[in-house]
């Protein structure tokens, strides 16, 4: 058995509570090109490269003092001769030997896998960087475009109010159309800006409070009522009884619900129905926004939460032509998730869709 441990195709090392190496097997010595006397009695961290020594001191050692074992560590060790280092996958566990704490460490050499992991880390960083610069670009563009469009809208208002003198009906009609178009572009810009901010992690402060779902829904309803009436849509809200409470930022929750109801209005044909209800399961509170629109094909259910994605030919507005950038659901899901919740959808093509906002109830939030 001892011969097996000494020659097993992985390194074994035991070090004391103060880090002094007590024993190491032949395989490890071979991997490091070291003699037994180079290793025994020296600090374990002296076998590591500088970066791994920092990691050992800042991460591994504190963890080993707090919990009995640490698994799947990536460490690089130094070869005694030569500058090349040896990448290792390590597991460390604590045990008592004659009343004294010692640490046993198993080390497997990483060769091809290391290259592959290098690639993953590089790709991950490149993706993060690209995401950051995309968001920064979007944010800058939206801001720079928003300002002049805002002033176009402002001058339209001045003209409409007659500040620059009277206009005939045709002129007034044109200016109103200009104003409507610029308002629409502004709302698109707001979406992009909001999306870029959430993705860049800039929506830093969430003012998390305990909210009565009924009150939040009543506000949404007040804002959206006229649009539903105008679209000939029947609206139904079920009272949330017993009173359902959620922990959320009131403005962000409002933003999510407005988004969902706006979407429902957009996709529900005249004579259709939008129904809002709430329920609880365990420590979670759920708000459902259901419509009788065309529904979403099963293979598109997750895609609709991706930015800039819209399901073609399903909107009733403009004869199926899509309006907007398809950012609303991406923003809403991000916001819900950052409030410890989620946004999901269930749909039956041809019958309608139900979007569900899940949030923590006050009890769940206290427990975390």
């Amino acid at each position: 058995m001892l011969g097996l441990l000494d020659r097993a195709p992985c390194g074994f090392v035991t070090f004391a509570g103060d880090g002094t190496v007590q024993d190491a097997n032949a395989t490890l010595l071979e991997m490091l090109g070291a003699r037994r006397e180079d290793v025994i009695g020296r600090p374990f961290e002296a076998l590591l490269t500088i970066s791994s020594r920092i990691f050992f001191q800042t991460h591994l050692l504190p963890l080993l003092k707090l919990q009995a074992s640490v698994e799947e560590l990536f460490l690089t060790m130094r070869r005694v001769e030569g500058a090349d280092d040896v990448a290792m996958l390590a597991n460390v566990s604590r045990r008592e030997q004659d009343g004294v704490v010692v640490y046993d460490c198993v080390l497997m050499r990483l060769k091809e896998r290391r290259k592959w992991e290098d690639d993953i880390v590089r790709a991950k960083r490149a993706a993060e960087e690209a995401n950051r610069s995309n968001s920064a670009l979007l944010s800058m563009m939206s801001h720079d475009l928003r300002t002049p469009i805002g002033s176009i809208a402002g001058y339209c208002d001045l003209l409409t109010m007659g500040v620059r003198g009277p206009m005939n009906d045709a002129q007034l009609g044109d200016v109103k159309r200009m104003k409507k178009a610029s308002d629409y572009v502004l709302s698109l810009m707001d979406d992009v800006l909001s999306f870029a901010r959430v993705r860049a992690g800039e929506v830093a402060s969430f003012d998390m409070r305990t909210l009565d779902t009924d009150a939040v829904l009543a506000r949404t309803e007040a804002l959206m009522g006229p649009r539903m009436e105008q679209g000939g849509i029947q609206y139904q809200r079920e009272e949330c009884t017993p009173q359902v409470q959620v922990v959320a930022d009131p403005d962000r929750l409002q933003q999510i619900l407005l988004n969902l109801v706006t979407n429902a209005v957009k996709f529900t044909p005249r004579g259709g129905r939008i129904r809002i209800s709430c329920r609880t399961t365990g420590a979670r509170a759920l708000v459902d926004v259901a419509d009788t629109g065309p529904g979403i094909p099963t293979d598109q259910l997750e895609r609709i939460f991706e930015p800039f994605v819209q399901v073609p030919g399903t909107s009733r507005a403009d004869g199926g032509r899509q309006k907007g950038f398809g950012l609303g659901l991406a923003i809403s899901r991000d916001l819900a998730r950052r409030m410890n919740g989620d946004l999901t959808v269930a749909s039956i093509p041809g019958s309608g869709s139900t979007f569900t906002v899940t949030l923590n109830s006050p009890a769940a939030e206290d427990a975390t």
Binding site: S51, R53, H59, K65, E71, V121, A204
Partner: protein
């Protein structure tokens, strides 16, 4: 009292004394790292523990890349905790990078602090000849690599505390029970902020008396750095420990406790209880 700071920074307060001892964790772990030290002071002091935003069980939603890209952002966390609890006459105990965070906070609010106890401080980790910090830039780049690879393989221990994984809700419970949990992106930023900082010029601005606990064979804060800090900090005491490594409060708690108690006792701060005031 601003209660939101208390949950944001996962503040814990206990102990029987009135004078606050505020413990600030270093890079790589969280307030759990003080658990071998605080019991020795809980009878005589009011112990305050917290996690910086981005570490431990802090509220990751409060993280801002801009704020935490310099140690001033971390100093603001520390001061926010002081304000929220209306602390005065604070004995600050900071490990590693938190030593410099405490230094910065004390420069901004000298009246808040009675003493600074700095465990393994370094005002600059990167060599800048003739100054020796102990590291070259590429060592830190490699550390970032090592961290990232560990966050790939080590998700069970160090994945973000509020990881969004609705398909596996059991993960969340597992993580909140883990020690030193942190978000990989925030941890990387914290590493960069820590190891690329240069606070050498700030040391001479400190007016609060301090104790420097210097370990032997500390790769992260070598003795020569501890001596530099001692030279630059007015009214500082340098205590060389037998403890090796960078975390004497975890590896050699008894020696660390003795050193802090001896210093406070010489300074005439032996811990005042509420009763002693009456």
């Amino acid at each position: 009292m601003d209660k939101s700071v208390l949950s944001r920074n996962n503040v814990k307060v206990f102990g029987n004394g009135s004078q606050p001892m505020l413990f600030a964790h270093g890079f790589g772990c969280d307030q759990n790292m003080w658990r071998f030290i605080t019991p020795a002071f809980a009878d005589d002091y009011r112990i305050v523990l917290f996690d910086y935003v981005g570490s431990g069980k802090s509220d990751l939603r409060a993280y801002s890349e801009q704020r935490y890209s310099s140690l001033d952002g971390y100093a603001q966390d520390l001061l926010d905790v002081c304000y929220a609890l209306e602390l005065e006459d604070v004995i600050f105990v900071g490990h590693s990078v938190s030593s410099m965070v405490g230094v910065l906070a004390s420069i901004r609010e000298p009246a808040l602090f009675a003493r600074l106890i700095l465990v393994g401080p370094s005002p600059r980790y990167i060599n800048d000849p003739p100054y020796v910090g102990g590291f070259e830039r590429r060592d830190i780049e490699e550390l970032l690599d090592t961290m990232e690879k560990n966050y790939i393989g080590w998700a069970n221990f160090l994945a973000p505390a509020i990881m969004q994984n609705p398909e596996r809700p059991e993960l969340a419970t597992e993580l909140t029970d883990g020690f030193c949990s942190t978000d990989p992106v925030m941890a990387r930023r914290f590493a960069e902020t820590t190891f690329f900082a240069d606070n050498r010029a700030d040391l001479s601005k400190v007016r609060v008396p301090s104790l420097i606990l210097q370990c032997s064979d500390d790769i992260i804060a070598p003795t020569i750095v501890g001596e530099f800090v001692h030279r630059e900090l007015a009214e500082s005491t340098l205590h060389r420990m037998k403890a090796t490594g960078h975390c004497p409060h975890m590896s050699h708690p008894a020696e660390t406790i003795d050193a802090i108690k001896a210093y406070l006792s010489i300074a005439g701060i032996a811990g005042k209880t509420e009763l002693a005031h009456q």
